[in-house]
């Protein structure tokens, strides 16, 4: 194991270029694992000796990654921005409130002060709570490597369970979230209890000039947009109850049974979450 602690992003990229680039992998020393807040990487640490053997790239000393930048038309979060940082940002409460709603439901304060939005994206859990709200806001992920930068819409970032459009020599540098005026926005999370609970089923809903966005977590191999439901909302199809959403939903999600819940529960609860959230704001919902 080796620990690398760069203080600039260019040093970090140079290290990744040496250690994590594909072709000379066999010659290269062991690949580096980036670490930000450590709240995913360090759980049950003593019981995971395989992880101890790896080498780490500590991002926490790269001050340029801590920036929160508000512009007239966007918010940009550096890769080290934590949940707590946005919970403390009153502009966020009014401009992009679902970020605050989701942040307050991640673990508890001790996790919120360390966990990062970028770490939530890169951990690629289907149960991530930060990802659905960022995706519903049409967030764009900015990746960097020694070869340059690249932007990928978060909605296109996942290709399958834990599969991302990010090479091992790339880092998330920032996340850009457009500011719009919203006619409706809501994040709903269902877990075993209100704090310290991983999501059994969750959904972020937003309506702006860009149309409807419905993004669900814990109901597919990745956090996913629900295009059939979005189209149904855009077309103002009449909905008489949660069951009317079930057919559309079944085209958008693929829930499974696991330790936290069952596929059946997830389908039914997601339909109900959507129905009761949308009934308040959609005339097509009876």
């Amino acid at each position: 194991m080796a620990i690398h602690q760069p203080s600039t992003l260019s040093e970090a990229c140079a290290l990744l270029a040496t250690h994590n680039r594909g072709s000379d992998r066999d010659l290269a020393p062991s690949p580096l694992v980036p670490i930000a807040g450590g709240t995913d990487l360090y759980t049950h640490w003593p019981q995971r000796p395989d992880e101890h053997a790896k080498s780490y790239l500590d991002l926490s000393g790269i001050e340029e990654l801590r920036a929160v930048r508000w512009r007239n038309d966007s918010l940009t979060l550096g890769a080290l921005v934590t949940y707590w940082r946005l919970i403390q940002d009153r502009t966020c409460w009014s401009a992009l409130p679902m970020l605050v709603q989701a942040a307050r439901q991640v673990g508890a304060v001790q996790i919120q002060t360390r966990g990062t939005w970028a770490g939530n994206i890169a951990n690629a859990s289907p149960a991530a709570d930060g990802v659905p709200v960022m995706m519903a806001y049409d967030a764009v992920v900015e990746l960097v490597s020694s070869e340059g930068r690249e932007e990928i819409p978060l909605a296109d970032f996942y290709q399958g369970y834990k599969q991302m459009r990010m090479r091992p020599d790339q880092l998330i540098r920032s996340i850009r979230i457009p500011r719009r005026s919203f006619l409706f926005q809501r994040f709903e999370k269902v877990g075993s209890r209100n704090a310290q609970a991983i999501t059994k089923v969750g959904v972020a809903i937003a309506r702006s000039g860009a149309g409807w966005r419905v993004v669900a977590n814990s109901v597919a191999p990745t956090v996913c947009r629900c295009p059939t439901i979005e189209a149904l909302l855009d077309d103002k199809v009449t909905v008489r109850g949660p069951d009317d959403l079930a057919t559309a939903l079944s085209q958008d999600i693929a829930p499974i049974d696991d330790i936290r819940s069952t596929a059946r529960y997830r389908r039914r609860v997601l339909a109900r979450l959507l129905y009761f959230a949308l009934r308040e704001s959609c005339s097509a919902f009876e």
């Binding site: 049950h44 003593p46 360390r114």
Partner: protein
């Protein structure tokens, strides 16, 4: 081994640690500060709570190399007199959760403005307690807040 220099309970500290060491183990095993407890080892129970740069965090999830250049405070740094309202309200029984509870509680007392947006229970949700049923903890913090407000009113 790796050398880490940071500020611990107000004093500059340098310690040699294993690359894989958690802050929790460094504090307990190398720096003779056993007040920080291990409960779950997975970030849920809060018995390992410390402050890093003034914010509560779980020492079981922090690699020691990450506190390089930062300020860490443990339960040993707290003024015992400030804990009286917790003792008086039945906020502690077996004591396993108490160091973590005390740190989060005093953090709230230091910035009561947090209560404009958060409930005490939301702020304390990362400190699990198997004994007290929480009411004593919440009452203790309320008592502390009331006494503090009264003192500030007098000054």
């Amino acid at each position: 081994m790796i050398e880490v220099t940071f500020t611990l309970n107000g004093s500059p500290t340098t310690v040699q640690v294993d690359d894989t060491e958690r802050l929790l183990d460094t504090l307990r095993d190398r720096l003779a500060l056993p007040g920080t407890k291990e409960g779950c080892g997975e970030g849920e129970c809060g018995s390992c709570t410390v402050y890093v740069d003034g914010l509560p965090a779980n020492a079981c999830l922090i690699p020691t190399f990450q506190v390089k250049g930062r300020g860490v405070e443990t339960v040993e740094s707290l003024d015992p007199a400030r804990l009286a309202p917790l003792h008086e309200s039945g906020a502690t029984q077996c004591g396993a959760c108490t160091p973590g509870v005390a740190l989060t509680a005093l953090w709230i007392l230091d910035q009561p403005e947090l209560l404009k947006t958060h409930s005490l229970r939301e702020l304390m949700a990362g400190n699990l307690c198997r004994c007290t049923g929480y009411n004593g903890i919440i009452e203790g913090i309320r008592k502390g807040l009331t006494e503090q407000a009264a003192r500030e009113g007098r000054d």
